[in-house]
C-alpha cells in the first residue's frame, strides 16, 4: 500500500467520522418530525410509522392562524434584504479598501474587525431601549440594522480578499476602453469577483437566517418575529403536551432554504473564473 492510498484511506475515515457526527442530529431531527405526537417518546431512533401531521400542523390555518407561516415569511424577507444591502455596501467598501490608498484605511479595517468581534449580547439591552424610543421595535428595520452591523464587516473582509486577486490591468484596460470608474467596477470587477460576492452573500444570509438573540429580544409579535424566535413560542396540542414534533418539523423546514441557497450559489462559486484574463 503506497503512501498515497494510505493517506486517502485515513482521510476517508476522518471525513466519514465528521459526516456522522454532523448528520446524526439532523437525521434525528427529521425522524422526530415524522413521528406522530404520541410516539415522540418511544425512544426509537427511526420512526416506526411515518406521519406528516407535524408538518401539516405548521401550516394549518393559513397566514393568520398558523404559528409558522408569518415567521417564515419574516425570516426570508429580512434575511434577503439584509443580504442585498450588506453585499451592495460591502462591495463598494471592499473595492475602495482593495484598490485605493486613503488615510485611515487601516483604521477602517481594524474598526470593522472590532465590530465583528463585539459580543452581540452586550448590544441587545441598549438596542431594545433605543428601538422602542425610535419606533423600530418589532419592525423589519429593527432586525435588519443590527444584522447589517454584524454581517457587513464579515462581508467586507471576504470581498477585500477577492478584489485583491483581480488583476489591476483589467480595470485599467476598461478605463482605456472608455469606461468610467463606476462602469469599470460594475462591468468588469464585480462580474469577476462573483465567486467572492456569492460567498459573502451566503455567509450574510446564513448569519441573518440563524440569528436567535436579536430576533427574540427585539420582536414581540408575528409582525416581525423570525422563525428561530417563533419556535420558542410554539405550543403543544394541549397544555400538557410538549411541541417537540412541531418544533422538529419547523426546524427541518427552515433548513431547506439554506440548503437551496447554498446549492444554488455553489455552482457560481467556481474558483478560477479569472483564468485567462492575464498571462502567467
Amino acid at each position: 500500500m503506497g503512501r498515497g492510498s494510505r493517506d486517502y484511506a485515513s482521510w476517508t475515515v476522518a471525513i466519514v467520522l465528521v459526516l456522522v457526527f454532523a448528520l446524526i442530529p439532523v437525521i434525528w431531527l427529521i425522524s422526530l418530525s415524522l413521528k406522530p405526537p404520541e410516539a415522540i417518546t418511544d425512544q426509537r431512533f427511526l420512526p416506526s410509522e411515518i406521519s406528516f401531521d407535524n408538518y401539516k400542523s405548521l401550516f394549518e390555518g393559513g397566514i393568520s392562524d398558523s404559528p409558522f407561516i408569518k415567521p417564515l415569511i419574516n425570516s426570508i424577507v429580512i434575511a434577503l434584504i439584509t443580504t442585498v444591502i450588506a453585499i451592495t455596501l460591502a462591495s463598494f467598501a471592499a473595492y475602495a479598501i482593495a484598490r485605493l490608498e486613503f488615510p485611515g484605511k487601516r483604521l477602517i479595517l481594524a474598526g470593522a474587525l472590532a465590530i465583528a468581534m463585539f459580543p452581540p449580547i452586550s448590544t441587545v439591552g441598549p438596542l431594545f431601549d433605543m428601538w422602542r424610543a425610535l419606533g423600530l421595535y418589532d419592525t423589519y428595520p429593527g432586525l435588519i440594522i443590527p444584522y447589517l452591523t454584524f454581517s457587513l464587516p464579515l462581508a467586507i473582509y471576504v470581498l477585500v480578499a477577492f478584489f485583491r486577486e483581480i488583476p489591476w490591468d483589467l480595470e485599467q484596460a476598461a478605463q482605456v476602453d472608455g469606461a468610467t470608474p463606476f462602469q469599470a467596477f460594475t462591468k468588469v470587477i464585480v462580474p469577476l469577483a462573483a465567486p467572492g460576492v456569492f460567498t459573502a452573500a451566503i455567509l450574510v444570509f446564513i448569519f441573518a437566517w440563524n440569528d436567535f438573540l436579536f430576533a427574540i429580544s427585539l420582536t414581540s409579535s408575528d409582525a416581525s418575529r423570525t422563525v428561530p424566535a417563533a419556535l420558542a413560542f410554539f405550543t403543544g396540542e394541549s397544555s400538557f403536551t410538549q411541541p417537540t414534533g412541531s418544533i422538529a418539523a419547523a426546524a427541518v423546514v427552515v433548513t431547506v432554504p439554506i440548503i437551496v441557497f447554498v446549492l444554488f450559489f455553489q455552482r457560481r462559486i467556481v474558483s478560477g473564473l479569472t483564468a485567462g484574463a492575464v498571462k502567467g
Binding site: 488583476p167 490591468d169 483589467l170 485599467q172 484596460a173 476598461a174 478605463q175 482605456v176 476602453d177 472608455g178 469606461a179 468610467t180 462602469q183 462591468k187 468588469v188 462580474p191 469577476l192 473564473l273 479569472t274 483564468a275 485567462g276 484574463a277 492575464v278 498571462k279 502567467g280
Partner: protein, 402 residues
C-alpha cells in the same frame, strides 16, 4: 490619428522616486515610436502617463494639439495593449473586442461589423465566440490587438505586447504588428526592453535609461551614431565591444594597436577614453586579403571560443587591459548579460567578440590574425559616457518632427 508631444514630462512617485525625468519627445502623426531601455528605466511609466493611467507630476502632454494632462483615459481616445493582455475573462472574444464600442454607445450592427472586420484582419473569425481562457497565447495577444484596432483611436499604446510569447511566435507577431501599423497608419508608441524589437519595428527609437531619454533617432542612426556609451552598448546584438584607450599626441592607443586619431577625437586633448567597436567591424585577415588593410589595424589574438551560426561566425578573444569602468556600462551589464551573453562588458575581463565571415578558418585555442576597421571606431568620454565620435549634425540630436 494625432501627434503626441511630451514637453518636460516628469513623474515623481509618492515615495519621492523620480521615474521619468523631464522627458521631451515629439511623436509625429502616424509614426511608430519605440521606447526602449532596460527594466526600471521609466519607459512603461512614460507610456502609462500617455495613457492617463499615471498622473503627470510636471510637464505637459499633448495628444493631437490638445493638452491632456488632466484628462481621464476615456477622454484621450487612445487604445492600449497590455503586456499581460488584460482580456476580460468573463466575456467572449467578440465582447472583449466590442467592449469599448459598446461603452461608447455604438449601435449593435456597427459593433458587429467592426469587430468582424478586425477579426478578419487578425485571423480570429472562428474564435469570436470563445472565451480568453480557451485561447492560446498568440490568439490572446491578437485579441488584445483587436480590442485596440476596432476603436480606430488617435493612438495605439503598446506595453511590451510580445514579451509573453515564445520566441518563434514573437518574431511572427512582430511582423504582424509592423504590417498592421503601416496598414492603419495610426500613431503608435511601443514599449519594449528588447533592442531587436526596437530596431526592427520602429520608425524612430527612443532609448531611455534611469528615467532619462538618452537618444532619439531612426534605428540606423542609433546604431551608427550612438550618442553615449549606454546607447552604444544597448543597441546591437551582440553588443558593441568596449576597450580602454588613450589619446596621446594625435594617436589613439588601443590594446590591439595604435592608430592616427585624425578627426576621431573631435579636438579633444590627451587622456583616457573608452573605445567601442562593433563585432562586424572585425574580420579575418585571411578572408579579406590585403584589400582593405590600409585603413584598418591588423593584430593577433588568441581565440577563446568560436560560435558558428552558419551565416555568421563569432570569435571570442580577450585583450590585455585594466578594464573599462563606467556607470552606464554597469547598467548595461546587469540587463544584457543574461539576455545576449554580452560577456565582453564584464568588469575587468575584456572579452571581445568579432563577427567574421563564415568561411574564416579561425579555431578555438589558436592565434588568429584579425583586422579591425578602425574607421568605424567609436570613442567615448570615460566620465560622462558621451560619444566623441558621433556626428554632431546627425539626426540623433534632432528631436523634432521630420
Amino acid at each position: 490619428m494625432a501627434e503626441i508631444v511630451l514637453d518636460g514630462v516628469t513623474k515623481v512617485f509618492a515615495d519621492g522616486y523620480e521615474a521619468v525625468k523631464e522627458m521631451d519627445l515629439d511623436i509625429a502623426d502616424g509614426e511608430f515610436m519605440i521606447l526602449v531601455g532596460p527594466s526600471g528605466c521609466g519607459k512603461s511609466t512614460a507610456l502609462r502617463m500617455i495613457a492617463g493611467l499615471e498622473d503627470i507630476s510636471s510637464g505637459e502632454l499633448k495628444i493631437g494639439e490638445q493638452v491632456v494632462n488632466d484628462k481621464a483615459p476615456k477622454e484621450r481616445d487612445i487604445a492600449m495593449v497590455f503586456q499581460n493582455y488584460a482580456l476580460y475573462p468573463h466575456m467572449t472574444v467578440r465582447e472583449n473586442m466590442g467592449f469599448a464600442l459598446k461603452l461608447a454607445g455604438t449601435d449593435k450592427a456597427e459593433i458587429d461589423e467592426k469587430v468582424e472586420g478586425a477579426a478578419r484582419t487578425l485571423d480570429l473569425t472562428e474564435h469570436l465566440d470563445r472565451r480568453p481562457v480557451n485561447l492560446s497565447g498568440g490568439q490572446r495577444q491578437r485579441v488584445a490587438m483587436g480590442r485596440a484596432i476596432v476603436r480606430d483611436p488617435k493612438a495605439f499604446l503598446m506595453d511590451e505586447p510580445l514579451s509573453n510569447l515564445d520566441a518563434k511566435l514573437r518574431v511572427q507577431m512582430r511582423t504582424e504588428v509592423s504590417r498592421l501599423q503601416s496598414q492603419l497608419g495610426t500613431t503608435t508608441v511601443y514599449v519594449t526592453h528588447d533592442q531587436t524589437e526596437a530596431m526592427t519595428l520602429g520608425d524612430r527609437v527612443a532609448v531611455m535609461r534611469a528615467g532619462a531619454l538618452q537618444q532619439v533617432g531612426t534605428p540606423a542612426d542609433l546604431y551608427d551614431n550612438p550618442r553615449n556609451l549606454f546607447v552604444a552598448g544597448f543597441i546591437g546584438s551582440p553588443a558593441m565591444n568596449f576597450m580602454p584607450a588613450e589619446l596621446s599626441g594625435g594617436k589613439v592607443k588601443l590594446p590591439i594597436g595604435e592608430i592616427d586619431a585624425g578627426d576621431l577625437a573631435g579636438g579633444r586633448g590627451d587622456g583616457k577614453v573608452v573605445a567601442g567597436l562593433r563585432p562586424e567591424n572585425f574580420e579575418d585577415v585571411a578572408v579579406i586579403g590585403d584589400l582593405k588593410q590600409e585603413r584598418g589595424l591588423v593584430f593577433e589574438a588568441e581565440v577563446d571560443l568560436v560560435e558558428s551560426l552558419g551565416s555568421d561566425l563569432f570569435a571570442y578573444f580577450h585583450i590585455e587591459s585594466e578594464g573599462v569602468q563606467s556607470d552606464q556600462l554597469a547598467d548595461l551589464v546587469e540587463d544584457r548579460l543574461d539576455e545576449t551573453g554580452a560577456a565582453n562588458i564584464r568588469e575587468g575581463h575584456e572579452q571581445v567578440v568579432a563577427r567574421l565571415d563564415p568561411t574564416s578558418k579561425v579555431k578555438r585555442g589558436e592565434t588568429a590574425e584579425l583586422w579591425a576597421d578602425t574607421a568605424k571606431l567609436h570613442l567615448f568620454d570615460p566620465e560622462s559616457g558621451e560619444s566623441l565620435t558621433a556626428k554632431r549634425d546627425s539626426g540623433s540630436r534632432d528631436n523634432s518632427v521630420h
